[in-house]
Structure formats: structure tokens, C-alpha cells
Symmetry: C2
Subunit: 451 residues, 2 copies
């Protein structure tokens, strides 16, 4: 690996230039801006390393770009790199210190929309592949690249792609799109994500807003919504019948890993400006909740007049956007039916449920070979004990990939992904490439391929 | 009165021109646009009828314009005309069929922002005064004109004006700023208004929005708000301790008047596209509720992400705008303290209450001379039995005026006040002038002045 690492170091500027070019190309999934152009650019990048890329399309939405490089010496095993070329919208623009699509280097960081999430990771994986090819004239096992363009809008078509094009999803292990170090610069080997059920609850009554003096006789959908919401959760427990039926408890090993993992609770509290967590929970309880607690979070509330001052209006409708985070083996398709039945049972049949996003949770065992490889490689590159994270509190379409997944990479906790002034630290960009390179290098052929 | 009515008919076009000129002058209290210019224009209009107007100012906000004409033959009694020259903002502009500040006549109606609320009434009262002066060289009793410029933002300084300039408020009777006919063209003699307590409840936690995956450990202010709201009202009854203590029951006479009054429930249901009222109440119950039920209405709800699709955010704050309508003798200053105590008692001390508007209710007895005059004049002008309305469901600063008030005028139920395409029917504009003229003509001196 020494030579591969040296190549990565020697070609640092070249990798930075490639990232700069990719980050200059807008690719906003929410609006479609630049998506098709970015897919072409990513295809070009895959062509440059000889990965024989193809663009896969299933009608609406952003295309998937996928390619493969066969290993000469270890063609029995395949690692898949899952990344995404789409980015969050750059708004609010006025809070950016540099233009979001003019990647700008300052103090060892590159600023721009999408640089952290996920263009540095995507670029890094191509550049580490190039390093293997230049130094060894081979890759350590088969490399597959699966780059989607809808991750920021809930990977709405990814499961459909996996059914239509199973060959581009088949692998023995997956390197997930994100990863990096914690606030104390410890590398995190992340092994899972929570699932999600995202819904909108809408209450409606009149066809038009009315004068609020009519509140004496005309039903108010905002009150209906408040009443319906109030039946969902009490004392931090979700009250929907059967909600916890399919929750798989932590294994003894998972519990031990969670206990052992450090968590920078004080740093988070400081960042958010809060004094305590829910119910004054301690660090251990917080870690357990982040990794394994099903949640029900109001992400948005809207009804009637929300401007400055007072306006006397009786709203025609009211809605809440709600994010339920799920754990293995909860199924969003099952749970949305339980939610609807719950509302009906409580007399809120009129409150409409719009199901906008559903993804299952996924966890990979820490005993999986790729997990062990990632941990060992982290020691090597960072010279620090890695943190093994049983599950992120966040969500991604990991469940679509059947093989074991590890989420590792070059990120850090102040990258402001999804926010203005998103950035990557260039030192970690390079270290992340080495970490991933070393992880896959250890993933040698040890038996018959699973795919 | 015949000659006065003839003069009003003969000078119809002149009155329409005066209204057109006034409605061409923007005067948006919410933004301040055109307010000072409009005050000058109104002063000029008062000068033209010899009312010796003055502009009264107490610092910030819109000035009050007031004037007076003494009666030669009945100087012992004074009628005050309360109107306002400010208007609602014209937004949403795209829904207007003609420009809001270019008054446009079409099919016997004049369209424009503020034509109905309240510039036709204001203009009409000056024009009927002119008719008296031209025909009789006198006015039937002393006329006072009190024109404020903040009615559309809750008459925030009117009580303060009344303390600082009591002389411009003193009168024996008041002709209120609005009035007109119901959907069946019956004239309505309105004798009261509800009060209001308008507050914003705000829950806050972090200093910044967070990723919603943190819902497992970080308290969500939207849930706090929903919980707090849910303690306020149940089954259409306000649960705040002592809320109903000062509610004055209807008198036998008021009950009879409410029973006797027609109410076009079907027309309202059709307009709003609703099938039923709250709890399936019937017309009698609806009339009682509109005139005398204290209400608690959510006018606005806001938290986190409210755009299209899904965004996974844990909001930093959440607020609700709430309009409590009050009845005699509830006092908003007392009730806001009860609301705060209620939230504290229920564990929601952290939910902030911002008190933005408070007005008491007011009712005038149907036995008052001015009420009887208005009823008799309505028969005369419309040749129909008038509807006596004990109280409007809406609110206005009537309580600031100590004298008996009647709300009569030239409005109708489809005038779209506060909405795009606001309009006045020109036939009713003229009839309303006659109605008011005849009402004040009957208000002759019968004793010593009260002021």
C-alpha cells in the first residue's frame, strides 16, 4: 500500500482539480438543475479510469451512472462503491460566503455546494482506483461504481433500479457514500443507518380561508391537526398500535459496541445551543437512542397566516410534515397503514396521510470482513483507535444493497452538508482516499463469489 | 328629508368621483404606504364641508384626522362619525382583475382596495353632510368626524388618542364605520362587536435548525407547541381557568332579537364549501355562537420546513398565532395573564406568549335612541324590515367610544373586504348615505348634552 499512498499524495493537486471541476457543475435533484450534465461528467470521469460506464434510466428522475473494473488477480470478489452526484439546493444563497457553484479553496478547505456531500467522496473513489491502476496495473478485487442522482430527494427510484438492473447492484461488500472522523479526529467505522417513513398529515375544511370571527361556527383544520398530532406520541413513546412490533433488539455485541463508542455530547449541545437532551438523558442513553430508538419528529407545521404581526384568518387547511425514523426490522409500508388505521380509530379519518418517502433501516455486523478491514485500515491511516458505530441516526438507501456495507470516507463534523458554506477539509479528503484504498485492498478473495 | 335625498341622488356622480379620488390614494397601515398623503387628502375633504379639521398625532403610527360642524338649531346633541382611511395591503396582487389603486367601475360596482372598507363609508358621510348643508344650510345636530388610520392593524393607538384628546371622542351617539344589507338585501342594524385577544405562542429550543435524525435526543419545539395548544381547548370549550368568569349573559331582550334575526347559514356554507358547522349546530345555535360565544381560533401555525416534498429538519422554533374573541365584560389584559398562568400550571412555562392585540367587546342596547332611529330610517330607505343584530362576530374598537354606537352603511356581503377585487355596489353606496342621513336627522335634541 505504501506506493499507492505515495501516488495519492503525489497526485493530490490533480484530485483537487477533479473535485473542483465536478463541484462546479450544479446538480440539484430537487429542481433538476444540471442533473443531466452532471451525469455526463461523471460518466466521463468513469471512462477516464476505464470503468466502461453506462447511463441507466427509468423514465423520470435522475439517471444512475454505473461502471465496473475487473480485477486480474482477484476476480472472485467485488466491492461496490455507492455514491451520489446530486446535491442539495444551495438556498439560502445570501448566507454563502463564496458562490455555491464556484468551488473556492481557503485555509485548507474547499467550499461549495455538494463538495462534502457527496462529490469529494465520489471523486476520491475514482482517484484511489486510478492510484491502484497506475501503481499495480490492477485493482485488488473487482470494483463496481454505482452513482445515483436522487439521494438528496430520498433515492426515490433506487429500489426500482435494483429490480430492473440487478447486475449493477450485485457485490460482496459495499463502501457507502459518507464517512469520516468525529470531533476529536477519531475515524468512525459506520455500520448502519436508520430507516424512514416521511409523511404529510393534512387537515382541510373550507375551500377558502375565512374571517377568523367565524371560528365560533366553522371548524378549524389547524385545531383538527393539533388534535390528531396529539394522539401520535406521549412521553416520547409512539402511541400507534403495533408500532414497535418489528423492532429487533440490539444484540449483546451491538450493545457492547455502543457502550464502548465515545460520543461528543457536549460538542453537540454547544453547537445547537441547548443545555440538555430530551428527559435529561445521559450520554449512554443518547447513544442508545441515536442508534436504536424509533422516533417521530415534526419537521414542519403550516397553517393560515405566518407572517409578521396579527392577521385574523380561519385557515382552510393545515399540515404537518412528520419524519418517523425506523430501526430493523420495521417496514415503512406496513407502518403507514398502521398510522392510517390509528387516525381512523381516534376519529381523525378526515386527516389525510400523504406518504412521500419510505426506506428501511440496515445494519451490517461488525464481524463482516469488510467491517474488520475498515477498522484495521483506519488504525493504519489515522494511527488512532477507530470508533465502531452500530448505526447512524440518519438514513440512506443502504437496504437496497444486499451486501454488507461500511460507511467510511473523508468527512468531518463541521462540513455543513445541506447548509450554506458546505466544505471539505483537503487533508481529510486525501486521508479518506487512503482509508478506503487500504480497506478494499484488504478485501481479498477468500472463497466463492456471492453474486 | 325628501330634499336631502333628492340632493344625494342629483349629486351621485360627484360623490362617486370623490370616492374614486380617495380610493386612488394608497393608504396601507401595515406598511405605512401613502398613509400621510391620505391623511392630508381626508383633511382637505373635511375642509371642503367646513368641518375645521385638524390632524392629531401621537408619535409613531398613522395620524387621526378629526373635525366638527356645529348645528345652528340643535347644538345640544352630537353625533360622531367614526371611520378609517387606512386599508388592508393589496396582496396577493395577481388575483386582482383591475389594479387595486386604480378604482374601476364595472357593472354598477366600483373595484379597488379600500373602496368598501372603509372609503365609501367615509366619503358617503361627508357627502350626506354636504347635502344637509346645501339643502337646509345646517346640520340636524352637531356632527363630529373621527377618521383614524390604523383600523386595519388593530387600532393600536386609538385608546391612547381617546385619553390624550378626549374632546374629539365625546358624543351622544356614534355612527360606526361599517354596515349594510344581508344576502337577501335586508338592512342590518348592528349594535355590537366582539372583543379580541390576539397572541402568538412560541416554543424554542436550539439556536439553529438541526438534522431531524437528532429527534432521538434533542427536544422538538413543534411537539412542545402542539402539547401546549392541546391544553387550551377541548370539545369547543376553552380550558383556561376563569376564562368565562366575566362573561355577561344575554339579556332576555338580546335573546329575543337573536331568535328573531334571520341568518343565511346556507349561503355561508356554500361560499366556504362546507357541509356543516362545528358539532352540526343548527341556525339558532350558530347565531348564538356568532353573537355571544368566546372563541379560541388558531389563525396561523409555523415551524421548520413548509415547502414542497420532504425535508428532514428538526426545527429550532415553532409558533402559533391565536385569536380569542371576547364578549362583554371580558378584558383582554386580564385574560392574557390567565393564559400565561395556565401554561405555567400545565408545565409549559417555556412557551412564550406575545400579546399583540387586545380590544374589549361592546354592545349598544336596542332601546337606545340612535338604535331606534337607525331601525326606523332603514324601513324608510329600504322599505324592508331591518335585521337587528345584537353583535357582530367580528371586532372593532367600539369600546373606545363611550356613547351608544350603531353600525349602518352601504355595504353588502360580497364586497370582498380584505380580499382581491374588493368592491362597492354604487346603488347601495347611495342608499347607505340616505340611511345614515335619515338616522342622524331623527336624532334631535331631547335633553341636556352628555358630553
Amino acid at each position: 500500500m505504501k506506493q499507492v499512498f505515495d501516488f495519492i499524495d503525489a497526485n493530490r493537486e490533480n484530485a483537487i482539480e477533479a473535485l473542483k471541476k465536478l463541484a462546479s457543475q450544479p446538480s440539484v435533484a430537487a429542481t433538476g438543475e444540471g442533473i443531466k450534465d452532471c451525469a455526463c461528467l461523471v460518466k466521463e470521469m468513469l471512462e477516464q479510469i476505464g470503468a466502461n460506464p453506462k447511463i441507466y434510466d427509468i423514465g423520470d428522475g435522475s439517471p444512475v451512472v454505473a461502471g465496473e473494473i475487473k480485477s486480474k488477480r482477484n476476480s472472485g470478489k467485488t466491492v461496490l462503491f455507492y455514491n451520489h452526484y446530486d446535491v442539495q439546493p444551495p438556498q439560502p444563497l445570501e448566507l454563502w460566503e463564496t458562490p455555491p457553484f464556484v468551488p473556492t479553496i481557503k485555509d485548507g478547505k474547499m467550499y461549495g455546494r455538494g463538495v462534502a456531500d457527496d462529490k469529494a467522496e465520489l471523486t476520491g473513489r475514482l482517484k484511489l482506483t486510478e492510484a491502484f491502476l497506475k501503481v499495480t496495473e490492477d485493482v485488488p478485487c473487482n470494483f463496481k461504481f454505482l452513482f445515483e442522482g436522487e439521494e438528496e430527494v430520498g433515492s426515490v427510484h433506487l429500489a426500482e433500479y435494483s429490480r430492473k438492473y440487478p447486475e449493477i447492484f450485485a457485490a460482496d461488500a459495499v463502501i457507502w457514500e459518507f464517512g469520516g472522523v468525529d470531533p476529536k479526529e477519531r475515524p468512525i467505522v459506520n455500520l448502519g443507518v436508520k430507516g424512514i417513513l416521511y409523511v404529510q398529515l393534512t387537515a382541510m375544511n373550507a375551500t377558502t380561508d375565512a374571517h377568523s370571527s367565524l371560528g365560533a361556527i366553522v371548524e378549524n383544520p389547524a385545531w383538527r391537526l393539533v388534535g390528531a398530532l396529539n394522539t401520535l406520541k406521549k412521553d416520547e413513546r409512539i402511541l400507534i398500535r403495533g408500532w414497535y412490533n418489528d423492532v429487533r433488539p440490539f444484540t449483546k455485541k451491538e450493545l457492547n459496541l455502543i457502550e464502548a463508542a465515545p460520543y461528543e455530547a457536549a460538542a453537540l449541545k454547544k453547537e445547537l445551543g441547548i443545555k440538555r437532551f430530551i428527559k435529561d438523558m445521559d450520554v449512554r442513553q443518547a447513544k442508545m437512542a441515536l442508534a436504536g430508538k424509533p422516533t417521530c419528529t415534526i419537521c414542519g407545521l403550516n397553517s393560515g397566516y405566518t407572517g409578521a404581526g396579527s392577521k385574523t384568518v380561519l385557515p382552510r387547511d393545515a399540515f404537518a410534515k412528520i419524519d418517523f425514523r425506523l430501526v430493523p426490522d420495521q417496514d415503512p409500508d406496513v407502518l403507514v397503514r398502521k398510522l392510517r388505521a390509528h387516525l381512523t380509530r381516534h376519529g381523525y379519518r378526515d386527516v389525510k396521510v400523504t406518504y412521500s418517502e419510505g426506506e428501511k433501516a440496515k445494519r451490517t455486523s461488525s464481524d463482516e470482513r469488510i467491517a474488520i478491514n475498515a477498522r484495521d485500515a483506519a488504525w493504519e491511516v489515522y494511527e488512532k483507535k477507530p470508533v465502531i458505530q452500530v448505526s447512524s441516526a440518519g438514513t440512506g438507501p443502504m437496504f437496497v444493497l444486499k451486501a454488507p456495507c461500511v460507511a467510511i470516507g473523508g468527512g468531518y463534523s463541521s462540513s455543513k452538508a445541506h447548509a450554506p458554506n458546505e466544505n471539505v477539509r483537503l487533508d481529510l479528503f486525501v486521508k479518506g482516499m487512503k482509508w478506503v484504498a487500504s480497506t478494499v485492498d484488504k478485501f481479498v478473495d477468500e472463497g466463492s463469489p456471492r453474486h
